[in-house]
């Protein structure tokens, strides 16, 4: 896929970074503000936005860096 310039994996990395940051950011806010206690969502005490958002962000960073434009590989 290198002859197309930017790899699809880079696009995926960018999207996951954006989504991961948004969801992790909100989850962190919800955790520290205590808003999760009044949430209608089941199992909100597990703080899924924090670890799921963190996971998306980590994956996004991996793909974003690994397949960044100009890097051969």
């Amino acid at each position: 896929m290198h002859n197309t310039g930017i790899s699809i994996w880079f696009f995926i990395g960018v999207l996951l970074i954006i989504y991961g940051a948004m969801i992790l950011g909100y989850g962190t806010f919800e955790w520290y503000s205590g808003a999760w206690r009044t949430s209608n969502v089941i199992l909100s005490e597990l703080h899924a936005p924090v670890w799921w958002g963190g996971l998306l962000l980590a994956l996004g960073l991996f793909y974003g860096v690994r397949f960044r434009p100009g890097r051969n590989g």
Partner: protein, 580 residues
């Protein structure tokens, strides 16, 4: 804009964060279309993505084009209704066919350098069979795209309260833009992106569901308790084959012969090996090895899809609750329609209901984006396949035969836009006459199984002739239509078509496909034996035994397609044995 978008009470309420997640998704997919516009200048680039896709990209796109959101929600609903039997459509109904495509059929598709399945028929049987297959496929593809578009818009109305027209127009114009700009490469790129989003948005639901129920064994214990206390209808929800001994033993009204030969062969092989919607993705691979490996890679993900589709449906049986804390009972669409205002939800809403249960702001937007992405990947698959078939197999041989390459690319771009508008028209047609939907879905099944018979004989029997292929395809299709019409006119005929008075609709589809492919093969054989075959020298590249397959460079075992096929077979067998 808000008034245009929202017009009904909804299941879920999206926050600004959720809306931002959805909006960013649309920006990215359009951006990809614009970015790839400069890479889609020749017909090979526009229609075949330059045949530059790696095995991973082609494999993920291959599965993603099939993974529409209706499929996600529909099969989750079926799992709630029928239990794990629904997983047959992901395992025996897909994996053997995908592996067969990669290991056995792909060399012929790839070596003859065809651009489409009708293109293969032209090389093997001549223009007649090719045109019949191309016209029926093109017609059915845009019609199906429209039906899916309407069904998706209806889901968006129920789940989010969005106006039907708003959902249809926004999502279809986005698809039209990125496919018309970047061609198949753009469709494939977006399908891979959408595949990642589907997993990212939907995977959390079964994980949290299993945590809530105490794992698989905890789920089974709660389900058994609910069945014992009459809260859930009695039945075997967690085994796939035990209740297949007789039609009356399972809620689907299916026998194992129908599952194995009807679904596992006639329907599954027909779809996965001859439906251009999926085959087109593999034809875009950058080498024969990649083309063979792509369906194998796809098979692993296909086997995993029940985790995000079937499992949430099953978990819904024990975790979904009404506002008063009682167990929620989902019902059929007809019951919901007959009781407006009763607060009932249909089986098909189980996945969105599970999302609303577990996903808060941001994550819910990601889940809804997964559903939209599923719809758009399915639609882009339909539109890009329609564009290639119309331009290569209808326009080029019958309308403008010898034009410059740029002309066909321009035609492809316009046909993409026109295809989307025909789909919108079909969606509006279905909106005003919902009964049409059942007919359209049946129509699609008429062509796939007979085509399988013709392609298989053409590929593996040198004696098959042009007349045999044409009459096999035609009479196989007429058999399918005739059996369908017979049962429609006289429902008691089901006992003959599906060989049991206890058979139900799904069994009818399977046996109809089986009779249809058998007829297609039988007619093809008889007519071929009565007509003059082509010399073997003319069959090089298209028929087994007349095609020298290129030898491939030796690779380490972990890159070998046969190794991964063996692993896929072992996992496939293990899953079926575990859930026997």
């Amino acid at each position: 804009m808000g008034a245009l978008a929202l017009n009904a009470p909804s299941l879920a309420h999206l926050s600004l964060l959720d809306l931002a997640v959805i909006a960013i998704y649309f920006v990215i997919v359009i951006w990809i279309g614009f970015y790839l516009k400069s890479k889609a200048n020749t017909s090979e680039e526009f229609f075949m993505a330059g045949r530059e896709m790696t095995a991973w990209i082609a494999g993920l796109s291959f599965v993603s084009a099939n993974l529409g959101s209706l499929e996600l929600m529909g099969w989750a609903g079926s799992a709630y209704q029928y239990g794990i039997l629904a997983a047959h459509w992901y395992w025996v109904g897909a994996i053997p066919a995908m592996l067969f495509l990669g290991m056995v059929m792909m060399p012929f598709y790839y070596v003859c350098k065809t651009h489409s399945v009708p293109g293969y028929l032209k090389l093997r049987y001549g223009q007649g069979s090719s045109t019949v297959a191309a016209v029926s496929f093109a017609f059915m593809t845009v019609l199906m795209s429209g039906v899916n578009m309407f069904a998706m818009a209806e889901v968006m109305k129920i789940v989010l309260g969005w106006n039907l027209y708003f959902s249809i127009i926004v999502s279809s114009l986005a698809v039209a833009a990125y496919v018309a700009l970047g061609g198949l490469r753009s469709a494939i790129f977006n399908e891979v992106l959408q595949f990642v989003l589907i997993w990212g948005g939907a995977l959390l639901v079964p994980i949290l569901g299993l945590i809530e129920t105490g794992g698989w064994s905890g789920f089974k214990a709660r389900l058994a308790h609910n069945i014992q206390t009459g809260l859930v209808p009695a039945g075997d929800y967690t085994h796939m084959w035990r209740s297949m001994g007789h039609f009356a033993d399972n809620p689907m009204g299916i026998h194992w012969t129908g599952i194995v030969f009807g679904l596992g062969f006639a329907i599954s092989f027909g779809y996965w090996t001859t439906d251009f919607l999926v085959v087109q993705r593999v034809l875009a691979a950058n080498s024969l090895r990649s083309a063979r490996l792509a369906p194998v890679i796809g098979s692993f993900f296909k086997m995993a899809v029940p985790f995000i589709v079937i499992l949430p449906g099953l978990l819904g049986l024990v975790v979904l609750q009404n506002a008063d804390g009682s167990l929620m009972h989902l019902v059929g669409e007809n019951v919901v329609a007959a009781n407006p205002g009763a607060g009932l939800h249909s089986y098909n809403e189980v996945l969105p209901l599970m999302m609303v249960r577990y996903l808060g702001p941001g994550l819910l937007g990601l889940g809804i984006t997964a559903l939209i992405a599923g719809f758009m990947s399915g639609m882009a698959g339909n539109v890009s396949a329609f564009t290639a078939i119309f331009t290569y197999d209808i326009y080029q041989p019958h309308i403008v035969k010898h034009a410059r390459d740029e002309h066909y690319v321009l035609v492809g771009r316009w046909v993409t836009v026109i295809g989307v508008f025909i789909s919108i028209g079909a969606a509006l047609l279905v909106m005003n006459a919902a009964g049409i939907m059942d007919y359209v879905q049946a129509l699609f099944s008429f062509f796939i199984s007979p085509l399988l018979g013709v392609v298989l004989l053409g590929m593996f029997w040198k004696r098959a002739t042009k007349a045999g292929g044409f009459w096999g395809l035609l009479i196989g299709t007429l058999t399918s239509i005739g059996l369908w019409a017979w049962v429609k006119a006289d429902p008691s005929a089901l006992r003959y078509v599906a060989i049991s008075p206890d058979a139900k609709d799904m069994a009818e589809n399977m046996y109809r496909a089986l009779w249809s492919v058998s007829t297609s093969v039988g007619v093809n054989v008889i007519v071929s034996l009565c007509t003059k075959p082509r010399p073997v020298s003319e069959l090089a590249g298209v028929v087994y035994g007349a095609t020298p397959l290129p030898t491939e460079e030796p690779v380490p075992i972990y890159k070998n397609e046969w190794f991964w096929t063996a692993i896929a077979i072992v996992i496939f067998l293990a899953l079926n044995i575990y859930f026997w």
